[in-house]
């Protein structure tokens, strides 16, 4: 019996890779740091996913159950890899709890870390309770409690969503676009307008990057159907007058400074490299690219490669990624790992 393939991370890409491998009879060992599978969509309590509109607990939850019920998948929760050595086909793996196992190959599906808004103190997160993140609004929606101001539980009359919080910001060493926050913000804006039709939602942006087909379903629809307003302004600071949050900036289209009162301010937080990427890179002997994400070994011929033979990568570990593309990359990495483990046999 061949050795299993090690999958590190039980988010969308890891779950996809695991299922793809076991469905062709390949055993896998799935290592998950958290106490449960599902990755960011489940652990951070996402509500309705882009672009399907399915609830995360149904869509990703289904993928979790599929792996949990799979006898060919050995799942280790609350677990991390301590050491990883050997060569393709015969890697030696030691887990943090001392358990040892062998693997023919490894797929790193270690994902990302949400940007911590405390790193942008001028935007009021951590200072004012009604300044929240997109992840928190997702939780308000997915919990069924609805969008409410954390300070006193009231329904907001006016909400500002600030884009590019922790993205495209050289001041804090984050030059990259996190790719999905524009679309997620448009989605959240529509969710708020649907739940609270009296609440006006303003999106403050530098550019809108609802790329590809998201344009129609999110950017256009949020304006045409839900009357969400987009203002080209990078907000300078969020303060408070004791009653309301005061959002200050420049409305660049009228060339005028603005200080507008809001009930709630939402940070559209970006995707940082997984905070443990340096450890991950050291343990698995792979390199990181300039921003701190896992580097791909090859951009075209084998996109799942890392710098080390036999170690593959998929999903947001390599940079900001959507859920559906992460899943596709999980499948792709599974195919590449399988090609290594079971090279094509000469036809009889």
């Amino acid at each position: 019996m061949s050795k299993p393939i090690l999958i590190v991370g039980g988010g969308p890409s890891g779950l996809a890779a695991a299922h793809a491998l076991t469905s062709v009879g390949q055993r896998v060992v799935l290592i998950e740091k958290a106490e449960r599978l599902g990755g960011a969509p489940i652990l951070s309590g996402y509500a309705k996913l882009v672009p399907s509109g399915e609830w995360a607990k149904d869509a990703i939850g289904g993928m979790v159950r599929r792996v949990e019920e799979d006898r060919q998948a050995e799942v280790h929760l609350s677990s991390t890899v301590k050491s990883f050595s050997g060569a393709p086909g015969e890697f030696d793996v030691e887990l943090a709890d001392g358990k040892r196992l062998q693997a023919a190959a490894a797929i790193l599906c270690t994902g990302f870390t949400h940007f911590d808004s405390l790193n942008k103190p001028e935007w009021g997160f951590g200072t004012f309770p009604d300044v929240v993140t997109t992840a928190q609004v997702e939780q308000m929606i997915s919990s069924g409690k609805g969008v409410r101001c954390p300070s006193d539980g009231r329904k907001p009359q006016r909400v500002a969503i600030l884009l590019c919080v922790g993205s495209r910001d050289r001041q804090i060493g984050r030059e990259w676009c996190s790719k999905i926050c524009c679309t997620v913000s448009a989605n959240i804006a529509m969710e708020i307008r649907e739940e609270l039709p009296e609440c006006h939602v303003y999106v403050y942006y530098m550019d809108i990057r609802t790329f590809g087909l998201y344009e129609t379903k999110y950017y256009w629809r949020s304006q045409e159907e839900f009357k969400v307003k987009y203002i080209k302004a990078r907000i300078a600071e969020v303060t408070s007058d004791g009653q309301k949050l005061i959002v200050k900036g420049e409305d660049t289209l009228v060339k005028r400074p603005i200080t507008i009162p809001f009930d709630m301010v939402v940070h559209a937080i970006g995707m940082d490299p997984n905070v443990e990427n340096k450890t991950i890179a050291a343990v698995f002997g792979v390199t990181l690219e300039t921003h701190g994400f896992l580097a791909r070994g090859n951009s075209y011929a084998n996109t799942a490669e890392t710098s080390r033979a036999g170690v593959f990568v998929a999903g947001a570990a390599t940079g900001p990624e959507t859920i559906d593309d992460s899943i596709a990359q999980g499948h792709a990495a599974a195919a590449r790992a399988l090609a290594l483990v079971r090279p094509a046999q000469a036809s009889a």
Partner: protein, 259 residues
């Protein structure tokens, strides 16, 4: 201050005291010049809905500020301050005071519709310009423009008689806009008509002037049109909150105190 930003200073925001002494120091004239803040401190969220409630303004919320309308604009080519893209933005964001600064040029739209063809989002900016002019009039910010008066005279006559009669139309239009009937171009036209002597036409004009022709069996159409126009006007006034204003004024006049 960078030179381009000086253009942002509005003359009315410059405050200067001709005579001013502070703590014994004479700061008269330009020594006391002070620039008032031009910060926008709130949005009027009703504004977009009001414009959208008027004919032509329905699609204003689609605008994403690309500037195609202003680029295509006939009037903008002559007057760079005529900027439909900008006004659409002000309405969408509810910057009413900013919009009112341009009330004396907004009505200058010539309805060439080049913007409507250029707009990638089907905002129909020409319609928005009509709605804006209409809104300014209804709210009492501007007087009725001559073209609006012409439209009214024209429409009144069509509704009244089911047809128009040019002589009567121009007479009423001149009267309502305070223009003399004996205008040079009109006298010249009459003179040339007389010189060529198209008898039949002159006769018809004369007859029409006397007994005002009307379309047969028009009464029912007239009633239906009047009813529709009245409904539409009432709807627009409601959308703009004008009935509340009038009601408020009436109660004030009657000495009823509010609240």
């Amino acid at each position: 201050m960078p030179i381009h930003e000086k253009s942002l200073i509005r003359p009315e925001n410059l405050k200067t005291h001709e005579q001013l002494v502070v703590d014994g120091v004479d700061v008269s004239g330009h020594w006391s010049t002070f620039i008032q803040s031009r910060v926008v401190t709130d949005y009027n969220e009703a504004l977009q809905e009001e414009i959208a409630a008027l004919p032509g303004g329905e699609y204003i919320h689609r605008c994403w500020q690309c500037g195609s309308c202003t680029n295509a604009c006939t009037v903008n080519a002559v007057n760079p301050d005529f900027n439909p893209r900008y006004w659409i933005y002000l309405v969408r964001m509810g910057m009413e005071s900013e919009l009112l600064r341009d009330k004396d040029i907004i009505w200058q739209c010539v309805s060439c519709n080049k913007c409507t063809y250029a707009c990638p989002r089907d905002v129909a900016p020409e319609g928005v310009m009509k709605a804006l002019s209409h809104w300014l009039e209804l709210k009492g910010h501007t007087r009725k423009s001559p073209s609006m008066i012409f439209d009214e005279v024209f429409t009144d006559q069509v509704i009244e008689r089911g047809r128009i009669e040019e002589g009567r139309l121009i007479q009423r239009f001149f009267r309502r806009t305070g223009q003399a009937l004996g205008q040079d171009w009109l006298i010249e036209m009459g003179r040339r008509l007389l010189r060529r002597l198209p008898l039949g036409l002159l006769l018809r004009l004369g007859l029409a002037g006397v007994h005002a022709p009307r379309t047969r069996g028009w009464a029912r159409s007239r009633a239906a049109l009047r009813e529709y126009v009245a409904q539409e006007q009432a709807r627009q006034r409601r959308a703009l909150g004008l009935d509340d204003l009038i009601e408020g004024a009436r109660r004030d006049a009657a000495g009823i105190t509010h609240g």
